[in-house]
């Protein structure tokens, strides 16, 4: 169970949102929506401990996350606009790399490629990918190395209908295995039963 209590976000000395609460149960999902600049990306970065909240608490199964930040980081995936895909490496190498660094080995690479329908691009250097292929490569990390909490910032950007369907399938599988998802988006993601978090501009 992943919870936020009274989260306050300030950026550049300006308050973006305050007193935000959320709860994601195992198998649950939260979808962040709101106009541009309302703080969706900021909230995701706070949840990933990449940004410090001005106030409030993050809890995992009731315990305070700030007590063991590294443990929290190890159990999550954060996929944002900068997608850490190296142009000089092939698609497969890019995915394998992160699986190795997270200590999960290369056993699930093929499944990851297949899940996002990019098996045929395995040996293509990432610099030759189209925008959507690039994004699929970034998303394939979700499958290649398991993590219980997924934080996704506009994950469907540049994806075609087929790619969006792949992502929905992957998310559904993840939730079926009691994984949690928190995603920011401007368009429908198809997470019907998700908690909707509407951020309002202050």
């Amino acid at each position: 169970m992943f919870q936020g209590r009274g989260i306050v976000c300030e950026r550049g000395e300006r308050r973006i949102f305050s007193n935000l609460d959320f709860t994601i149960a195992p198998g649950g999902a939260a979808v962040l929506r709101g106009p541009n600049g309302c703080g969706k990306t900021s909230l995701l970065r706070i949840a990933a401990t990449l940004l410090r909240a001005a106030d409030g608490q993050l809890k995992w199964d009731g315990g305070d996350i700030s007590e063991d930040i590294e443990a929290h980081r190890a159990r999550l995936h954060f996929i944002g606009h900068q997608d850490a895909v190296k142009g000089a490496l092939t698609v497969r190498e890019n995915i394998a790399l992160w699986a190795n660094i997270r200590g999960d080995g290369e056993g699930r690479i093929d499944a990851a490629l297949a899940a996002f329908d990019i098996s045929h691009l395995g040996d293509t250097p990432a610099q030759y990918l189209s925008a959507g292929q690039h994004r699929r490569t970034a998303l394939a990390r979700l499958v290649a190395s398991p993590a219980i909490l997924w934080l996704l910032d506009e994950p469907t950007v540049s994806l075609d209908a087929d790619g969006t369907a792949c992502l929905q399938r992957v998310i559904a599988d993840h939730r079926a295995a009691r994984g949690m998802v928190m995603a920011a988006t401007h368009i429908e993601l198809g997470l019907d039963d998700a908690e909707l978090l509407r951020l309002k501009p202050q």
């Binding site: 990933a48 990449l50 940004l51 410090r52 590294e70 443990a71 980081r73 190890a74 159990r75 999550l76 995936h77 954060f78 944002g80 606009h81 900068q82 997608d83 850490a84 895909v85 190296k86 000089a88 490496l89 190498e93 790399l97 992160w98 190795n100 660094i101 997270r102 200590g103």
Partner: protein
């Protein structure tokens, strides 16, 4: 441990792919050293006199220039963020990247130094000392440089600011390195200088990754 190995391996592979970075840091060292005789004239006596200084200054510059590769690319494309989220301690990640940096820059410099010393007409007595100071000193360059590289992460095109931060910190390495060689060339005992240099490197080993990790954390916020 295995994961740190994976990071080192990844950095080495990226270095190899991206236009042979190893080969290229080396080339900068060689080119800078060859510019000097062109600048100060070909007289062997003058060249021999300035050889240790020129070699070490060129090594400093070559090491420094390769620093912006250390974290910058990973920072810009989000890889550093992902490394921080991989659950490994950031100090460890930083240390792994420093090791990879030394393997791709310090080591090649070390190997090229004697050939360049010949070109600069350095006295034969100095060769052993040159190699030793390089072996002990270049790791310190990578270690100290990591702090500067981490501090200038959020600065766009921070290359020159980096040099401003790092070069002053490099000065002790330069001084001990050169004085050890000079002592050997003049038939004096080089050992005290070498010991000082070694002490410096050993002191950097725990301190620098820790400081660099703190700077990296800052830049990710």
């Amino acid at each position: 441990m295995k994961q740190l190995g994976a990071i080192i391996q990844r950095d080495l592979r990226l270095a190899a792919r991206q236009g042979g970075a190893t080969f290229l840091a080396l080339v900068f060292f060689v080119l800078t050293v060859t510019l000097f005789p062109l600048g100060i004239g070909p007289e062997p006596a003058v060249l021999a006199r300035v050889a240790p200084g020129v070699l070490w200054v060129a090594a400093l510059l070559a090491a420094m220039l390769s620093l912006d590769r250390l974290f910058q690319a990973d920072f810009e494309d989000g890889s550093l963020e992902q490394l921080a989220l991989s659950g490994l301690p950031i100090g460890g990640v930083v240390l792994a990247k420093i090791i990879a940096h030394w393997l791709t820059t310090g080591l090649p410099l070390l190997l090229a130094a004697p050939i360049l010393a010949v070109l600069l007409n350095m006295d034969d007595e100095g060769f052993a000392a040159l190699m030793l100071t390089m072996l002990i000193g270049t790791p310190a360059l990578s270690l100290i440089g990591a702090i500067g590289a981490a501090l200038t992460l959020t600065v766009r095109r921070g290359g020159v600011l980096l040099s401003l931060l790092v070069l002053p910190l490099y000065i002790p390495v330069l001084i001990f390195g050169v004085s050890a060689i000079d002592a050997a060339v003049h038939g004096l005992n080089a050992k005290p200088h070498l010991l000082l240099l070694a002490a410096l490197t050993v002191a950097c080993l725990p301190l620098c990754p820790w400081a660099a990790a703190a700077a990296v954390k800052l830049s990710l916020e």
